[in-house]
């Protein structure tokens, strides 16, 4: 029962936060222009007066502010995020098209982050104050301090231009056609079609942006894990394990690591924030058609509805991942579970 009430409380908080974000985006949208029609439609308002009038009616944009907010929320719940002049279609549709690409990058970025970050963290903790420790710390410091575009450029130079290993951009190589959009994720869709060559092609294109993100972010995992290991090795229960006569390897890998990993889980939610930030640059440099690139394009075009809607969507992703991390933490740490 402890777990269920815990989840419900967290869920309530999540909903509250999302509502707060919606309020902020609403305020921002009304700050663009006192004319709410312009806020909703951006420049389309002047370009398509009939469309503007239709929107005004639909969203009661001539009513007082609180009514507008009400219909704004109703619209959100129905999946209406406004209209994008840039893309020539509703924002929600544009996001639905681009989000899978970003999620693909995010997925591989997390995988790379863990694959790089965890072993390095373990090594740095085990060989504390030896050469390996300092080397690893220098490495992750470089990664964490580099702006995402530096890492992307670096990878581009090394992997694409120097060693010709991976392509320079796009989601698929020119000439390769996209699979039928079943789920919207080209990786999954190509597999569903049984089209292995398309799948592999898509895979090679997703690696670079994901790796660029992972290099910027793995340092957090390594740092936290290293500090956690050092702290755990100083505890009384590790001293008890030694007194029992266990060998150092068992003590390190069985007793220490299991406890040291716990803070890494809470870190996962922070990672998402950094990944989302980095994806803007990675997608731009690698011309990967995800939400990040969409946002940057919207920025240049001053497509306000898109910008604000994407803000809301990103917030939603972060809230969802925080929730998932909290639940995972409760599962992993027995003490939280039974409180």
């Amino acid at each position: 029962m402890g777990l269920l009430s815990f989840v419900l409380r967290r869920l309530g908080l999540a909903v509250f936060v999302l509502l707060g974000v919606a309020i902020i985006t609403f305020i921002l949208s009304r700050s663009i222009s006192s004319n709410p029609i312009v806020a909703w439609l951006g420049r389309a308002a002047s370009m398509y007066p009939d469309l503007a009038a239709a929107y005004a009616a639909k969203y009661h944009l001539n009513d007082p502010l609180y009514m507008q907010f009400y219909y704004y929320i109703v619209g959100l719940l129905q999946g209406d995020l406004g209209y994008s002049v840039l893309k020539g279609r509703p924002v929600a549709v544009a996001i639905r098209e681009t989000l899978p690409y970003t999620l693909q990058i995010a997925f591989f970025a997390i995988v790379f982050t863990l694959v790089i970050g965890i072993p390095l963290g373990v090594l740095a903790g085990k060989y504390h104050r030896k050469a390996a420790d300092y080397g690893i710390r220098a490495f992750y410091l470089a990664g964490v301090s580099s702006p995402a575009f530096l890492l992307a450029l670096f990878l581009l130079i090394v992997l694409t231009y120097m060693f010709r290993l991976l392509p320079s951009g796009g989601a698929l190589s020119p000439g390769v056609s996209a699979p039928k959009p079943f789920t919207g994720f080209i990786l999954i869709d190509s597999l569903l079609e049984g089209n292995l060559s398309t799948f592999l092609d898509a895979l090679t294109h997703v690696i670079m942006p994901s790796l660029a993100l992972a290099l910027g972010v793995f340092g957090y995992v390594t740092r936290v894990l290293r500090a956690s290991i050092l702290e755990v090795m100083r505890t009384n229960y590790i001293r008890s394990a030694r007194a029992k006569g266990l060998d150092e390897n068992t003590i390190f890998f069985k007793h220490a690591l299991r406890n040291a990993m716990i803070p890494v889980v809470t870190l996962a939610s922070l990672l998402v924030t950094w990944l989302v930030t980095g994806t803007l640059f990675a997608e731009t440099i690698f011309t990967y058609p995800g939400v990040g690139q969409y946002l940057v394009q919207a920025l240049s075009a001053l497509d306000y509805p898109s910008i604000l809607a994407i803000t809301l969507v990103f917030a939603g992703i972060i809230v969802a991942s925080n929730l998932a991390a909290d639940i995972l933490y409760a599962v992993v740490d027995p003490e939280i579970r039974l409180h």
Binding site: N236, Y237, S240, R242, A243, K244, L246, H255, R258, P334
Partner: protein, 341 residues
């Protein structure tokens, strides 16, 4: 007593090298523990008793600590001459140790039964599971299978008188009280059938009632399981409840050692006398508590004299000139004081 001593510490000196100076934590300590004997080492914080305990089991962190001289003989073998890997084989199954803070001494993410099972497995893997007289209570490795392991775990919990052992074995440490956790520690330590159990302030973190229970348990188990106990404590009253022999430590040295009754009826060293006078007791109602004047010496500046001299009410010229050695006064009563030399 006949036979070989379980533990024989001979002239042990250990120093800590700090940035601020070298500290003589243990100064020429010699003592012994016989089979089935409970010896208590009593002294204030910083007198070196914990260092002594850790050095016996080989858990003294060796960069700051340095073994200056002496031997630690366990069943005849000098432990200080062993390589770390060899010493590890003695830990747990020959010499076990439990510590002061039961709240943090158990791994929080593993269940109690799991942790006990680990101790048992280690014991079996070192071939100590075989039947030895008096230790069959804890099972032998000739029996295999998960059920038998489970039974052995329950046996351990029963040994330390933990009620409802099946449920406790399935619990996590944070679900138990301090007293119960300490019993689990004791049980886990004894499950490995050591010849010597070192207990460093095992009851200090517990309330008085639990304290008495745990002490009584340890004393009782000593006979049941055929082991010896080295009890380290700052509390003379605690020591008096369960010890056969008490060694009083001050500033790294043993200043007096005697059997319990003898120590309490004829305390010789002025420090011991002072300690006894400090114990609040009902029979001395109305009398003032007499603390010992002064404070423990800075162990970095070692005078060539008796370390207690600055605080001693009976100090003589001789005491400030040279250090008195621990010598036999009568029978098994030893004291390091010029009043008796």
């Amino acid at each position: 007593m006949e036979g070989k001593s379980v533990l024989n510490v001979d002239g042990l000196s250990i120093a800590y090298e700090l940035k601020t100076g070298t500290v003589r934590a243990v100064d020429n300590v010699s003592m012994s523990i016989e089979p089935n004997e409970l010896v208590a080492v009593v002294g204030e914080s910083g007198c070196g008793k914990t260092t002594l305990g850790l050095s016996i089991i080989g858990l003294l962190p060796s960069p700051p600590a340095k073994y200056v001289s002496g031997e630690v003989n366990f069943n005849g073998k000098n432990l200080l001459s062993l390589a770390p890997d060899e010493m590890r084989l003695y830990r747990g199954t020959e010499i076990a140790m439990i510590f002061q803070e039961p709240m943090t001494s158990l791994n929080p993410v593993f269940k109690i039964g799991n942790q006990i099972r680990e101790a048992i497995k280690l014991r079996d893997s070192r071939g100590k599971g075989g039947a030895t007289s008096g230790r069959d209570t804890l099972g032998s490795s000739s029996r295999n299978g998960a059920n038998d392991k489970k039974k052995q775990i329950i046996d351990v919990l029963n040994l330390v008188r933990i009620p409802d052992p099946e449920r406790v074995a399935d619990r996590y440490p944070f679900e138990l009280s301090g007293g119960m956790r300490q019993r689990v520690m004791i049980g886990m330590a004894l499950a490995q059938k050591p010849s010597l159990l070192i207990a460093d302030e095992p009851t200090t973190a517990l309330d008085v009632t639990t304290q008495a229970q745990v002490l009584k348990l340890m004393r009782g188990l000593m006979e049941e399981v055929d082991t010896s106990i080295l009890l380290i404590t700052h509390d003379l009253a605690v020591a008096s409840q369960v010890a056969d022999k008490i060694a009083v430590m001050y500033a790294g040295q043993i200043v007096e050692e005697a059997e319990v009754l003898d120590l309490f009826s004829h305390p010789l060293h002025p420090y011991t006398q002072g300690l006894l006078a400090c114990i609040p007791s009902g029979s001395k109602e109305g009398m003032k508590l007499k603390p010992i004047q002064g404070s423990t010496p800075d162990l970095r500046n070692i005078p060539a004299a008796c370390k207690f001299a600055p605080r001693c009410p009976c100090v003589m010229k001789r005491c400030v000139a040279t250090k008195p050695e621990l010598t036999v006064k009568e029978g098994s009563h030893r004291v390091a004081c010029y009043l008796y030399q």
